[in-house]
């Protein structure tokens, strides 16, 4: 029997999505011209399906710092942080991340995925417990698998359900690590963080907040939902990524506990991989400063978010989150309708994301639109015009046809 037979179902699902024009999955982007413009299928389009929330990818200072580091320190470190891959830039970025939170320790990882993998598998061992939200990102689930801890899932955004599960652990709750995200990237919804913090404190458990999609976006200094909710003093660890608001690639964990440093000796996804390249680190350091001081960028981002949410709702679309955030997930009844909307929006010159099961929670079919501080009022108008055209046409029949 072929070892490839197991892929038959996903291969079929993919072929159902193929048709005329650019593919909705792994869409080929021919060129990227700015934080908000790219070329797809030979046409310039507005990019509204990225995670470039702060719009920093073409920031001249960031590019200059990356270019200088590339020329000064070379193209790659060719080794692990444990061996030859710890340069001055890595240590400086860790100091700057720790200082941003006013905490004693931060660790840089090579990707955001590895930040969760390395933090969870490093912190939790046999005899410990990981309690994770049901809608957690794959990197959280994979981090749990790599750890030897007993992993239990609680209902999405349900502190009462978490409370019951921690109660069942009794005294052992002091060895439990609770994991929530600051923003869930599929539906764009946020957790009731204050309530989770109360439950965590009641049981003496530990709390990790993954701010991958909320870092840069929320809080006076852009430190994430934990800062905005005023609960940073009760959060034990914040995990984040460089590949969204920070406009690079990599990840981090920062903690109020100095002992986080010990993770460097125990975390396999930290040890057994090459460290981020000097150019990426240099660019991320510039982006971090711009985010901490980025009040005007956040103001524009939230203006865009509020306009998009209000506009989409007034067109009658159902959104995945009641609270506006950088991701607006339009819930559509089935895959064919979702694909027709994706194609319709692209035809109007706007690239968004088609999100379908199993990547989505609750088996939902979504058109995911993400906002950037680099979007202008006119850009948001263009997205809403594109959505409005689909409402008035009720998804053109030819598009629905080609989606089947």
């Amino acid at each position: 029997m072929s070892i490839f037979k197991k892929f038959a179902a996903v291969a079929e699902a993919r072929s159902e999505l193929e048709g005329d024009g650019p593919s909705a999955i792994a869409t080929p982007i021919d060129a990227v011209r700015s934080a908000t413009r790219g070329v797809i299928g030979g046409r310039e389009v507005l990019l509204a399906g990225t995670n470039n929330y702060m719009g920093l990818t073409f920031e001249p200072d960031l590019i200059k710092a990356s270019q200088d580091a590339l020329a000064r320190s070379g193209s790659g470190t060719t080794g692990s942080r444990m061996a030859n891959g710890s340069y001055d830039g890595h240590a400086a970025l860790e100091r700057e991340l720790a200082a941003a939170y006013d905490w004693p320790s931060a660790i840089v990882f090579s990707t955001g995925y590895q930040a969760n993998l390395g933090t969870l598998s490093g912190l939790a061992a046999d005899g410990d417990f990981l309690l994770v939200d049901a809608d957690s990102h794959a990197s959280i689930y994979d981090g749990c698998r790599l750890s030897r801890a007993q992993t239990v899932v609680f209902r999405h955004n349900d502190p009462e359900n978490l409370d019951r599960r921690l109660s069942r652990l009794g005294d052992e709750a002091s060895r439990a690590i609770v994991v929530v995200e600051g923003l869930y990237s599929m539906l764009g919804d946020q957790p009731p963080l204050e309530a989770f913090v109360e439950v965590k404190k009641k049981h003496g458990a530990w709390l990790i907040v993954d701010e991958a999609h909320s870092f840069g976006v929320f809080g006076e200094h852009g430190l994430g939902l934990s800062e905005q909710a005023g609960v940073l003093d009760d959060v034990d660890f914040v995990v984040g990524t460089f590949s969204k608001s920070l406009a690079g690639i990599g990840g981090f964990c920062v903690s109020r506990h100095r002992e986080l440093e010990l993770l460097r000796l125990a975390s396999r996804p930290y040890i057994f991989t090459a460290s981020p390249s000097p150019a990426v680190i240099a660019g991320t350091r510039v982006a971090l400063r711009k985010i901490i001081d980025g009040r005007s960028l956040r103001k524009q981002l939230h203006r865009n978010i509020d306009r998009l949410y209000a506009g989409a709702r007034s067109l009658g679309f159902e959104l995945g989150s009641d609270t506006p955030g950088p991701v607006a997930a339009i819930i559509l009844p089935d895959r064919a309708t979702a694909l027709a909307h994706w194609k319709g929006l692209l035809a109007s010159g706007v690239y968004a994301n088609l999100m379908i099961p199993p990547a989505t929670p609750a088996g939902l079919n979504l058109l995911r639109i993400s906002m950037s501080a680099a979007h202008t009022d006119e850009d948001v108008d263009q997205i809403l015009d594109g959505l409005g055209a689909m409402v008035s046409h009720q998804a053109p029949p030819d598009l629905v046809q080609s989606a089947r």
Partner: protein
């Protein structure tokens, strides 16, 4: 006196009613995915209902081992009885 297995079987019945009312008494020896056609989200919802009924938390590695409702019942019965001793 009802045994742990009786209690688990009843909890699975109630969990099915709450999470998957459209399933009419499914074969408990059928494979949840390929035979009954459940996806991972549906299975997760069912498990959460069963957890509430039994007031237990089921570790995800336990779920990775089971294919049918009867296998789940057997595994949960063992888990509950082991915790008692």
């Amino acid at each position: 006196m009802s045994t742990t297995r009786d209690r688990v079987d009843r909890a699975i019945g109630q969990g099915l009613k709450n999470a998957l009312p459209e399933l009419d008494r499914p074969d408990r020896d059928a494979v949840l995915t390929s035979d009954i056609g459940l996806d991972s989200v549906q299975i997760m919802n069912l498990v959460m209902e069963i957890e509430d009924e039994l007031d237990i938390s089921i570790p995800i590695d336990v779920l990775a081992e089971i294919r049918t409702l009867n296998q789940l019942a057997e595994r949960l019965t063992r888990m509950i009885d082991e915790n008692k001793t």
